[in-house]
């Protein structure tokens, strides 16, 4: 497990832990059932606040990426691919609706917006 805390970025510390752990769980670097360090141990090792670490764990737990057994610690949850996919689709939807909003304020037509997306996708495929 790898976590790198950087003070230079404007991302809050709990979000840095949250997103790095989440990425490692999704990619499988952290295997389902694997034990995570206790909140307190992780906080002390990273020299950050216990409260902040707890916030990151709580968020991951509420999204189903890990589960906590009282007295035993936190474990990576069995991966639910449907759930993750669902979540990513929702995120995609959010981004698209933000894009749609911007397009509207720039006076872009639907066709122009779709063209833009097509160009971007084709660029990525090269």
């Amino acid at each position: 497990m790898e976590i790198i805390i950087r003070n230079t970025v404007n991302q809050p510390i709990y979000e840095q832990i949250y997103s790095q752990l989440k990425a490692q769980i999704i990619s499988g670097t952290l295997a389902p059932g694997e034990a995570l360090p206790s909140i307190r141990a992780l906080a002390k090792d990273l020299k950050i606040s216990v409260i902040t670490t707890k916030r990151a764990y709580d968020e991951l737990e509420s999204e189903g990426f890990l589960h906590t057994v009282a007295g035993k610690g936190s474990f990576v949850a069995e991966k639910n691919l449907d759930l993750i996919r669902e979540q990513q689709l929702k995120e995609l939807e959010d981004h698209l609706s933000a894009a749609a909003g911007l397009a509207r304020s720039c006076g872009l037509t639907v066709e122009e917006l779709i063209d833009m997306l097509r160009v971007l996708l084709e660029e990525e495929n090269l």
Binding site: N10, P12, Y14, R40, K44, I48, V50, I51
Partner: protein, 283 residues
């Protein structure tokens, strides 16, 4: 459980008063107490240890009222380091250890010896010949060796060089690996507190201006650098404090949520937040 609970504490000294002080330090956390000289930090600590009686309000330490007779027993569980260490001048570190072994029921001699060697403290030199740093280190070694659950540190890192300070902070950090271990620390070295603390409590002229999660503070505020006109375009409530350079530039502490999202802000250190707030309060 809360390690420390101050409820509506009132204490007046004529020209200076602690007013309606409410402060809670949850068990297992580290709280940093900051404020200017004379803000009431040491008074707060003395109220906690029952060295001062409040005019009104209650102080609870590890769940026990500081003014109750049971509080004597609680003192076994509290390690206190004040900004000056007072031991009889002719005693050596080894003799201080012997006295403490007879004072505290849970005195851990092995741990004390480890601290003496870790801090490079001579065993046979009399206390009066100790440097300021050595005195502080001895007081910290004593406080850690009677196996407390709560550490109360009043300027305990002042007078230590940066290397030793870092080592001492690491010891404090390790101390709170245990879930029921807590620390209240006051210091003027705000960067130390930023490294160590879960909460920051800010006293100003006898009043508690805030007690906030450190990381939330750092998330809430940012430092803006730019021209006075740029700053004037921001909403009034977004700006907490400002400082002009005299060359057209201005630095200001702003609330992130009240400024436009695109505005580039520097990360605010605890030091920036406190300094700007004190300046803001003086106006």
């Amino acid at each position: 459980m809360n390690a420390i609970e101050l409820n509506h504490i009132q204490k007046s000294f004529g020209s200076f008063a602690i007013e309606d002080l409410n402060l809670t330090v949850p068990s297992g956390t580290i709280c940093g107490l900051v404020g200017e000289n004379g803000a009431g930090k040491s008074t707060t600590i003395r109220l906690l240890m029952n060295a001062l009686r409040p005019d009104s309000g209650t102080a609870k330490v590890l769940g026990v009222d500081a003014s109750s007779p049971e509080f004597r027993a609680v003192k076994e569980d509290v390690g206190v380091v004040l900004d000056e260490a007072y031991y009889p001048e002719t005693l050596t570190a080894l003799q201080v250890g012997k006295v403490m072994a007879g004072t505290y029921r849970r005195w851990n001699q092995k741990r004390y010896d480890e601290f003496l060697s870790r801090f490079d403290l001579p065993g046979k030199k009399p206390f009066k010949d100790f440097s300021r740093g050595m005195k502080m280190k001895l007081a910290i070694a004593v406080a850690m060796s009677h196996q407390p659950r709560l550490l109360i540190l009043d300027e305990a890192t002042s007078g230590l060089d940066p290397i030793v300070r870092d080592e001492v902070l690491e010891i404090f950090n390790e101390f709170t690996r245990e879930e029921d271990h807590s620390i209240l620390i006051s210091s003027h070295i705000l960067s130390d507190l930023e490294k160590l603390c879960d909460y920051i409590a800010f006293l100003h002229r006898g009043r508690l201006l805030f007690c906030e999660e450190k990381d939330r503070l750092l998330e809430t505020y940012g430092v803006f650098s730019g021209t006075a006109e740029q700053l004037a375009s921001l909403r009034e409530e977004a700006v907490v404090g400002r400082e002009a350079s005299g060359y057209g530039g201005i630095r200001a502490l702003v609330r992130r949520e009240d400024v436009p999202a695109g505005l580039e802000l520097e990360r605010a250190a605890v030091e920036d937040i406190i300094l700007f707030m004190v300046k803001g309060a003086k106006k």
